[in-house]
């Protein structure tokens, strides 16, 4: 199952390639849940999605654990020029950020619903689900309520 082209939906930014190793992540987001793999062999919570545990190198079972969706802003950039995919121009200025989830892993994500130039390190944030196409939902974050 591949969703790489958003042209039929009018969404022109790059979309993730969904395949067996990460399908659980994308299926959960589609249900508006944030889930990451927990290794059944050593209990390490894994990011990004992978067929192998970076801690114990197990390629065995991992469960898709439901997370709180709460976290802390670690670092961020304010993109003022879309030097990669020009489709991001419509969102400028937009924020790409690292959010440290309360459960541990650090996600690459976007901060939305706030002024990009008012962000501060250590800010509390919470997940919001952005259904960008019928198949793909992205996990983004906003300041915690």
């Amino acid at each position: 199952m591949t969703t790489h082209e958003g042209s039929t939906t009018g969404y022109s930014k790059q979309l993730p390639i969904i395949h067996p190793a990460n399908a659980g992540y994308w299926a959960a987001l589609k249900n508006h849940e944030l889930r990451l793999q927990r290794c059944s062999a050593c209990s390490t919570l894994r990011y990004p999605a992978s067929p192998v545990c970076y801690q114990c190198m197990s390629t065995g079972e991992a469960t898709w654990e439901l997370l709180s969706g709460k976290g802390t802003l670690t670092s961020w950039i304010v993109v003022e020029r879309a030097t990669g995919n020009p489709a991001w121009s419509e969102d400028i200025p937009h924020v790409v950020a690292y959010v440290d989830l309360d459960e541990g892993p650090r996600l690459t994500t976007n901060i939305v619903e706030t002024d990009p130039y008012t962000l501060t390190a250590g800010m509390r944030v919470e997940v919001v689900f952005d259904d960008v196409t019928p198949e793909v939902t992205l996990a983004k974050f906003r300041p915690a309520s």
Binding site: S12, P48, S75, A82, G84, T108
Partner: protein, 399 residues
């Protein structure tokens, strides 16, 4: 004792550049051939002497090893080609060193071409998919690219690391700007630099637009066309050639682990997937190989696709302690006339974006002693190439 001691076994004996420019409408084969011929002339060699080839930039940025041999009528009995990406300059030189020292080749041509204009193969790669190297990955990797969240350039990832560094250590935008200003001052002394005729003040830097805040326009390397060739042979053969040999005294390779994400940040910073820990450079292999330490180094050359790489790399190799490079680089220390010259050709920021091959050529000019004009570092004997990825070369006059 290792079975092979690399110190002073191989030398750089020829360097050659093509024209540098932006949006040049010429083929990468032509640019690389210009640089090849210039390097042959510089060394006093002919095409028939060159029997080895090493590159990292094949298509779509440059020319693939086999295509280049075909067009130029060259015969290589040993060839290797790394990933078409930045970061492999030191590795390409080291591969040549190992080849000549083992007798697999007598004279190796190291060639690198950067072609951004549609005259090269990039015409086949429309913008928008986040690049053709790490942009095609499924989350993860050194640059930390995650295209579907708009983290789709290496500069964006570096900017994330830079914000974190600035917050963690109290570094300022003005301190960051001094790096680009310093490299520009060097470029103003280098007639071959693309920005030779464009002086820049700190105000100019601060007034330029943000690309990806906190990084501004002049924190980014030049995007251009150009080719650089370097010829390596054994120390024995080097003695009979035209120019004074420049010795490869030490080398260490690219290092990688989860602590190398983001690759442009030094380990321990705590960005990307890195752990956050106190970083101590210790004694790096390259110094052990070359039998020198940081205090012996007359100038350093750093992979500077983005200006904060200067901070990260100086800390990685122990020129500054962790969190202190933003202060270490002030007061003109790295600029012309400073105590530790950095990127004396103007580097990728102001000479040409050639992934460091141009810096290795500049080290060669400096160590020959009479080819660097107004930017000559007095009494230069030991120079070091180093990258935020952990690899390094030390070149010397051979003493």
């Amino acid at each position: 004792m290792p079975a092979f001691e690399m110190r002073n076994q191989a030398c750089i004996v020829g360097i050659g550049t093509s024209e540098f420019g932006r949006n040049l409408d010429v083929s990468p084969i032509l640019l690389q051939t210009q640089a090849y011929q210039a390097a042959l002339d510089d060394a006093g060699l002919t095409r028939a002497d060159i029997d080895g080839f090493s590159t990292s930039h094949g298509a779509p940025a440059g020319a693939d090893y086999d295509e280049f041999a075909m067009h130029t009528g060259s015969t290589f009995r040993w060839a290797q080609q790394n990933w078409t990406h930045g970061r492999w300059a030191g590795s390409s030189v080291s591969a040549a060193m190992f080849a000549v020292c083992s007798g697999l080749a007598n004279y190796v041509l190291i060639a690198n071409t950067q072609m951004e204009s549609p005259a090269g193969y990039r015409r086949h790669f429309p913008r928008g998919e986040g690049g053709w190297n790490e942009g095609l990955r499924d989350v993860g990797g050194g640059q930390g690219q995650v295209n579907f969240h708009g983290l789709d350039t290496p500069g964006s990832a570096t900017s994330l690391a830079t914000r974190y560094y600035m917050e963690k250590y109290g570094a300022t935008s003005e301190e960051l700007g001094s790096i680009a200003v310093s490299e520009r001052a060097w470029a103003n002394l280098n007639p071959q630099a693309i920005f030779h005729d464009r002086p820049m003040t700190l105000d100019d830097y601060m007034d330029a637009r943000f690309i990806s805040a906190p990084l501004r326009l002049f924190d980014y390397c030049l995007v251009n066309e150009g080719a650089q060739c370097i010829i390596v042979t054994t120390a024995e053969r080097a003695k009979d050639l035209k120019k004074p040999p420049v010795y490869i005294a030490g080398y260490q390779g690219i290092q990688t682990s989860r602590d190398s994400s983001i690759i442009f940040a030094r380990p321990g910073l705590g960005i990307g997937l890195q752990r956050d820990f106190h970083y101590d450079a210790g004694v790096q292999d390259v110094y052990r190989q070359a039998r020198v330490d940081q205090s012996d180094v007359d100038a350093v050359y750093i992979y500077d696709s983005f200006s904060p790489s200067i901070w990260f790399t100086l800390e990685r190799f122990g020129f500054a302690k962790d969190g202190e490079a933003h202060e270490f680089t002030q007061e003109g220390r790295i600029a012309p006339g400073g105590a530790l010259p950095v990127n004396t050709s103007g580097g990728s920021l102001s000479e040409a974006g050639l992934f460091g091959y141009n810096s290795i050529a500049e080290m060669t000019r400096q160590l020959r002693g009479n080819e660097a004009g107004a930017r000559q570092v007095p009494n230069a004997e030991v120079m070091q190439w180093m990258t935020p990825f952990g690899d390094s070369l030390i070149l010397t006059k051979g003493n």
